[in-house]
Symmetry: C2
Subunit: 337 residues, 2 copies
């Protein structure tokens, strides 16, 4: 081990609206020593996810908030530098909640070994990581699409949305993606094989949905909330299922969350709206990863990562998510593989 310092981003204040530089403290700490059963990991890639914004807020949620003064929570991929866990060896690649820092010490049980021969390392934060698992279980277990049905996904060029749409295609559905900008839309229909894409920045979403979903929406996978959720509610088919995965349009609100005005469409259409948290499916991650790795190998499931270099860019890189500037899985490369 050559480095002796560990640069970290700690939460300094609870953000109001979009997180600012001053909501963070960028500090240098000593590289920690692993205790009994613990492992020292050097961060290679750190995952930036919309859910992180929620973790910065106080209040009850599906996971406790990050405390003020605590290293910001984040998933990551790293290489093992030292290990007191017999199941993990120096040089292994692992994934776990490393936090926004260059080095992390975790218990061996909190880490999962990954095999770089299966896929490039960044893919383990995308299709084979939390976003892929979220897409897989949210769509298949909550959305339950049937062949021939129409599936709509928002945030469609993002890490979760792109996988949702591609799995829906694999299941024989008509797939419509909603994304911001013509480049993202071209990516959806050109590279990912979506049947249609709606550019919410340039089009009337409600009108476009009517055009592209003449039989109505059977499954809507919602990553964004807000007006797009309302537009989808207005276009439901009977017995539609809405998967509530996230609400990125609302995470930086300084006003109350916009509830879905058109929710009574659930009544008219005998439809349901259901929330999901990926952690509930942890015991089945392996099963999903094997199936998705097979699809990737067969060329049926494409992936794209948006990789930004340097841990010091964290505060600004995170904002790309909320400004819709990323296509594919956003992450920071902390160190070369």
């Amino acid at each position: 081990m050559t480095a002796t310092t560990n640069r970290q981003f700690k939460l300094a204040a609870r953000p109001v609206g979009l997180p600012k530089r001053t909501d963070w403290e960028f500090v240098t700490a000593p590289v920690p020593e692993p205790g009994p059963g613990e492992v020292l990991v050097k961060s290679l890639y750190l995952s930036l996810d919309p859910a992180m914004r929620g973790w910065m807020n106080e209040g009850r949620s599906y996971i406790p908030p990050v405390a003020i003064g605590e290293v910001m929570r984040a998933g990551g991929i790293g290489r093992v530098l030292a290990s007191n866990d017999p199941g993990i060896a120096v040089g292994d690649h692992v994934t776990g909640t490393l936090g926004i820092q260059e080095y992390a010490v975790l218990k061996g049980s909190q880490l999962t070994r990954i095999d770089p021969s299966v896929a490039p390392l960044p893919v383990f934060l995308g299709v084979l990581g939390m976003p892929g698992m979220t897409a897989y279980f949210g769509l298949l277990e909550i959305g339950r699409p049937q062949p021939g049905e129409t599936v709509v996904v928002s945030g469609a060029a993002g890490a979760v949305g792109a996988v949702v749409g591609q799995i829906a295609k694999l299941k024989g559905c008509r797939v419509v993606g909603i994304a911001g900008g013509s480049d993202k839309c071209a990516y959806l229909t050109g590279e990912l094989g979506f049947d249609a894409a709606i550019d919410y920045k340039a089009e009337d979403v409600k009108k476009a949905l009517r055009q592209h979903c003449p039989q109505g929406i059977d499954v809507y996978f919602d990553n964004v909330g807000g007006d797009i959720l309302d537009a989808c509610l207005a276009t439901l088919a009977r017995h539609a299922r809405i998967v509530i995965c996230g609400a990125i349009s609302q995470y930086n609100n300084t006003t109350p969350v916009k509830g879905p005005t058109n929710y009574l469409s659930l009544l008219v259409n005998r439809a349901r709206m259901e929330g999901m948290v990926v952690f509930d499916y942890a015991s089945r991650y392996g099963e999903a990863a094997r199936e998705m790795a097979g699809w990737m190998k067969a060329g049926k499931l494409k992936h794209r990562e948006d990789i930004v270099d340097g841990i010091e860019t964290f505060p600004e890189t995170l904002l790309k998510l909320f400004k819709g500037e990323n296509t594919g899985k956003l992450m920071i490369r902390v160190a070369a593989e």
Copy 2:
């Protein structure tokens, strides 16, 4: 047949907010003659239901709107005065969509014969009618309460809510009703056996829910929408089910419907919100009616009707629903049995 005139309420204008007298036309028409396969029915009781407000609005819903100039749609109970349907005899009691009028002609196939020896006639508009069916199928098929779970129902002293709560008690649940006023609350806990009642006009509903539902809400049967739906969303247990049956607080809005601000609680709690329309269960009404009639006979399912005399009172009587002035099933007695 002695009467020769048929007093009717026709929809004169689409109401903005609460329906006014001038939104109706009260007319006198000749008593119609039944054609082949048709039946002439003398209205005895006409049902007033919150859903009627929705039928007055233009726009796509689960049923077409009432046209301007059309007799207002309403369920009712009547006695057969003349019949060209071999399955229905003069003197039979029937239920069907009679409309707000003293006499109706319908096809025999649009009427259901009822047996006055099973229950008093008004009960066929309440527990054994649409409200009872709505409660039964909405709770059991969508809410799916399990013994020991906590069930909350709003509009709890109304025709649907009172049945929901009592069935939930029969299924071994802890039941909390939300209603307006101390009389209604006393009725819920005193007569109907609810475990607790919350007076939304006098109490902080969110605080009271926390007190009465220490383990959170497993099933919320929503008849009202608005702030009470939001308070319940804030108190969900994990894997909760919300039955969207109606939203009486929103039906007379002159501003857009208030969407549930706290809908992301569905995500946090892996909960679902699902709409229901009773007509979907029409093939099973008989089964439900038999079971509920058995519970009534055993004294386990109580009923109360709020009966107002005189068809001419219709515009004002209807408003009782939206002002929360009725306890039990609201109806108009048009003529003596």
